[in-house]
Symmetry: C2
């Protein structure tokens, strides 16, 4: 539980009472590996804050191929932002890789939180800003870099992830097939 308040403290300062408000509006849950927390076509009613384990969001295209949009490690938030903000059916799945512990904040309670602790509006605005910036950068990278350069950037940015995710998920995140990813890695080792 501590990590959520720590995470909030990075951006806004809360009094003890305000912290209590936050804690009163969230739930904590525990999931087994490969549990699906959100499915395509469903409304994303909660956003998730990871305490333990790794979650990922992805779409499945018309050929049944999975495309990883985001990973979330402990200390990160994850949701289908389109669906969460608009409260309409979205296209993302959210799933645990390993056993995970997660804090849930429902859309409803988020709105209560805005009323009880207006500072939290600022907090979530900053999260969304950072998310927008990261997304924009990823778009630029996808349009301007080769797969090899994207992998290089990924492994420098998330060294913890490189060794604890299945390769096919990393391949999907950087936008190539697992076969090509494997070939690429072999090529890189030769250098």
């Amino acid at each position: 539980m501590k990590t959520l308040l720590e995470n909030i403290a990075k951006h806004v300062e809360l009094t003890n009472e305000e912290q209590e408000s936050v804690l009163s509006l969230i739930e904590t849950d525990h999931y087994k590996a490969k549990t699906i927390l959100l499915e395509e076509g469903k409304i994303c009613t909660h956003s998730f804050f990871v305490l333990k384990g790794i979650l990922r969001s992805y779409t499945i295209d018309e050929n049944g191929v999975e495309h990883v949009m985001n990973f979330a490690c402990p200390g990160w938030w994850i949701a289908d932002m389109y669906s969460f903000l608009s409260q309409r059916p979205g296209q993302l799945f959210i799933e645990t890789n390993e056993e995970a512990e997660v804090i849930l904040l429902s859309k409803e309670n988020q709105e209560k939180l805005y009323l009880q602790v207006p500072k939290m509006e600022r907090f979530f605005r900053i999260l969304i800003e950072n998310s927008l910036i990261a997304n924009q950068q990823r778009l630029i990278d996808n349009m301007t870099f080769t797969a090899e350069a994207r992998y290089d950037k990924f492994s420098k940015k998330y060294p913890e992830l490189v060794n604890c995710l299945p390769q096919k998920q990393i391949a999907s995140y950087i936008g190539v097939t697992p076969e090509f990813f494997s070939k690429m890695k072999a090529r890189l080792l030769k250098k």
Copy 2:
């Protein structure tokens, strides 16, 4: 000037006084075709609201190739969000296509505005949310659709733009070379 207040009214209701506050903190400017309003490596000190004409943002990669990130028609905002939010040098150019009329809001004045008219914080939060959603969708489209499908989606979403932008800019936005775009269009006509 009217269009800015109309645009704001879509998301938040302002009193007359609050409207005056907004108007007192913005500037209006007029630019000739192909004027560069922001350059790579510079800090994005203003965000732009288009009244007339079309602006676009783009990066230039290491091979000198331009990649269009966004277009902005009348009634749209545009900025290098990374640079504008962090006030650090960014990588985007922003440029007019045709002669244009633009409202400028400086980062400084935006912050004054938040103090004078707290509702505006909500307004900009909504803009950023929409921007995030659009960006996320574009990432998904780039990862899951073929160039032809992306063009199809683009021309349905922005029919006004298809006929008033140089083709090479549309090609760049959807992520292909002008030559391939030309070939693709010829192929589509045959059907």
